[in-house]
Subunit: 288 residues, 2 copies
């Protein structure tokens, strides 16, 4: 297959890590949420094998975080998803299909419940910010919605646990899958979740202080030498093998959550208010 260059303009936003990643020899990018996502450093087959064996750091700042806060925040997040959020807890991440009023997939974010009325919606490649703003305006909800200044490093691979333990202490090894907590590096606090777009295990470090984040980035590579650490990126073969779906690749707004295999995340019998509820009921009754 022929290779093509990417034309960089301001519209394709860089991340705080772009400069370092280019020094580390990134070869190619894709674009995701109007931002650069590194895709290869050597070649995808080598990177696949390395990811399954050692540890990689990925710049996944493209997973933009839409913060929704205010009196009606829970209501708004619930309106957008077919998953019942009534029993959700602070400290957890939830994988939720976002749907439109026709039951079509809008996005499949991981959402972080920070407080009862503060959520971060960590999005796949579509402008959830605009969808949320539209609903809030239409329904006159009391919410604040904005894209947070957060950039994310994923530390993925079997050796990610030892590496993170060396940096953040034994506490972090106790963090369970799809939980998050706060950890300190050089006296700066980071929100870290046990999550990531691979099946090899690892963490995502959500950076709101760029200076501290860049220092941590360097420190990861310094300490990680003994674990054969390398810069990397979400690997198509690995994530497909692991059953992870990708919005835009495997599902579109023309697909409903049943077609995507999300049946267990569609709670039509709960009494929570979901925008696409009636549409999904009709789809379910007709058979998929």
């Amino acid at each position: 297959m022929k290779n093509f260059y990417i034309s960089k303009t301001r519209r394709l936003r860089s991340t705080p890590f772009t400069k370092k990643i280019e020094e580390q020899g990134v070869k190619s990018y894709t674009v995701y949420n109007h931002m650069l996502l590194p895709t290869t450093f050597s070649n995808v087959d080598e990177e696949y094998l390395h990811l399954k064996k050692d540890v990689q750091v990925w710049d996944v700042s493209v997973q933009r975080e839409i913060e929704i806060s205010g009196k009606d925040a829970h209501l708004l997040v619930q309106l957008m998803t077919c998953r019942d959020l009534s029993k959700t807890k602070v400290g957890n991440c939830y994988y939720v299909p976002l749907i439109d009023p026709n039951g079509g997939m809008v996005n499949d974010p991981l959402i972080y419940k920070l407080e009862d009325n503060i959520w971060r919606v960590c999005i796949a490649d579509s402008d959830v910010l605009l969808y949320a703003k539209g609903i809030a305006a239409g329904k006159n909800l009391n919410v604040k919605i904005f894209e947070a200044n957060i950039d994310t490093m994923a530390v993925q691979g079997p050796k990610s646990f030892k590496l993170m333990e060396e940096i953040f202490g034994n506490e972090i090894t106790k963090l369970k899958f799809f939980k998050y907590s706060f950890y300190k590096f050089q006296n700066k606090k980071f929100l870290i979740s046990r999550s990531g777009f691979s099946k090899q295990g690892g963490y995502e470090i959500h950076v709101d202080n760029i200076k501290a984040g860049l220092e941590l980035y360097d420190h990861l590579f310094e300490i990680g030498k003994k674990y054969n650490i390398k810069p990397g990126a979400p690997n198509q073969a690995e994530r497909i093998e692991g059953g992870l779906l990708s919005y835009g690749n495997d599902m579109l707004i023309s697909d409903n959550p049943f077609e995507c295999g999300f049946e267990k995340l569609v709670h039509l019998n709960s009494d929570v208010d979901i925008l696409g509820k009636n549409s999904l009921k009709k789809i379910w009754d007709k058979g998929i």
Copy 2:
């Protein structure tokens, strides 16, 4: 500056013209509305000079068209923009700033009024589909909203007029700026507007029949030989020189339409219903 490759996946949608454009030697792409936009064939300086002298065909299918129809279509389009649409006419295109409830720029599309209650919103790089769906759901509007299967070729440059006249007849030379009409090629009807993202003049051909569109594409290059026709792309230097703004490059959701120089398109004294009206009034009263 170092060059980087683009990683093509299904998520970065191709267009019906991609295959032809790659045969014609496209070198680089950008991504716009989750789709590939060709950016260079030779080099941007040569292409700049050629655009100002001859004629180019651009694959600008990335200008996705969001169709909004139904009883409340006019109301919904008006809610999204600060420009008063009450006197708009079928057959015209309108450049309208779309704004969020805080007065921030959501997009700057050209909108086509097809019928009183059928609009096509020809968008810059943000998911207006989701914004419109959100508002419609929140307000319970009677509308149908979808991304139309339309792909656009722009024919731009001083020799575009002679070329298009040869293909579509003398009628098309009478089409005025920001008007559209329907023209036939090989008995297939095309919506063609006098518009385009350059200051050199030209047309945009909105293709809803891919087979006919591909035949027209080849025909343009066949007939265009004598006009020194070349494939091309929106040229950053030319559009900046011409004062054309680019959403994502020159404006973001954090900018209001006054800051973008759209004062003449902000109609706060009309009695039409605009979502961001109060916010824009406050911004105006405080001074920008």
